[in-house]
């Protein structure tokens, strides 16, 4: 493997979703992602997923709400993946869909624990942060900036952290 391939493999393995599509989207064709985002954002609010209190209930085991939401998400996800695989469904632009397997690294434990700590404080995982901002909690923009800084710090110290 060339150096570039190795780096790319390492990069996509435990870090970030890499867009493998060979189609270069025009600016306007990105609008479809915006629309999916809007639907996602509405769902976040209407299902009360962005409620800090719902996250508290989840961790205090006083309500089934969030377990139901995540559980339903997993079931729908399983069905969707099975359908996509069985019928070899292609993307909207006609490219095949491949879902890469995840490989284990210790970051999933250390990073996972750290995210869990933050999740119980902010009452939001990364996606809902944006919906909270849109829903009128402007100060969450600071949370978003801080989270982005956290990502940057991770990127900077990545080689020194156990994986």
């Amino acid at each position: 493997m060339s150096k570039e391939t190795v780096e790319k493999a390492e990069f996509s393995e435990n870090a970030m979703c890499v867009n493998e599509s060979n189609i270069n989207n025009s600016f306007w064709s990105n609008i479809k992602y915006l629309l999916v985002g809007v639907i996602f954002g509405i769902t976040f609010v209407k299902a009360e997923i962005i409620s800090w209190f719902r996250i508290q209930e989840m961790f205090r085991l006083t309500s089934f709400h969030m377990y139901g939401v995540i559980g339903t998400g997993v079931v729908i996800g399983m069905l969707s993946i099975q359908i996509i695989k069985r019928y070899k469904i292609k993307t909207i632009q006609g490219e095949p869909i491949t879902i890469a397997d995840k490989t284990f690294n210790k970051g999933q434990i250390y990073g996972g624990l750290i995210f869990g700590l933050g999740w119980a404080i902010t009452g939001a995982c990364p996606g809902p942060l944006f919906a909270q901002i849109g829903a009128g909690f402007g100060v969450i923009f600071i949370t978003f900036l801080s989270a982005t800084f956290g990502v940057w710090v991770y990127g900077y110290f990545r080689d020194k952290l156990p994986h």
């Binding site: 870090a15 979703c17 867009n19 990105n30 992602y33 999916v36 985002g37 809007v38 996602f40 954002g41 976040f44 609010v45 009360e48 800090w52 209190f53 508290q56 989840m58 961790f59 205090r60 309500s63 995540i70 998400g73 997993v74 996800g77 993946i81 397997d101 995840k102 690294n105 999933q108 250390y110 990073g111 996972g112 624990l113 750290i114 995210f115 869990g116 933050g118 999740w119 119980a120 404080i121 902010t122 939001a124 995982c125 996606g127 942060l129 944006f130 909690f137 100060v139 969450i140 600071i142 949370t143 978003f144 801080s146 989270a147 800084f149 956290g150 990502v151 940057w152 710090v153 991770y154």
Partner: protein, 143 residues
Amino acid sequence: MCFPAKVPFFNYDWKKEIWNIFFIVGVAIGGFVAVQFLGNDEPVKIAAETQQELRKQGVTSFGELLPADIFSWESLMTLRGFIFIVIGGFLVGFGTRWAGGCTSGHAIMGLSNLQLPSLIATISFMLGGFFMTWVILPFLLGL
């Protein structure tokens, strides 16, 4: 200004990933639309036990999606607000990157695709959350 440019982790073709930006802007718009036009004006019905517990631990504002006594510009200048808004965000960003995913990537997508690493990550998310909620949060809420 592009200070992360020298970090190898950030050397990717951002133009190709620009759909991410469209997506998150959409999520924010969705949040706005839902609250402005699709709201039902009823407060989120929180379990009574949790409400009581939180009240005892120092939360005063109920009825909105987030407790406004913690998540507001005024409270950002207090120690409690700073921890919840700034430190909390840092832990979310740093943690999800190190874990290689969040509740969407690991818990929902990963578990759907029967990935063991995602199960490990999801269990870690929950353990971290339980520890914060039961051990540290009562202290933080009282600050």
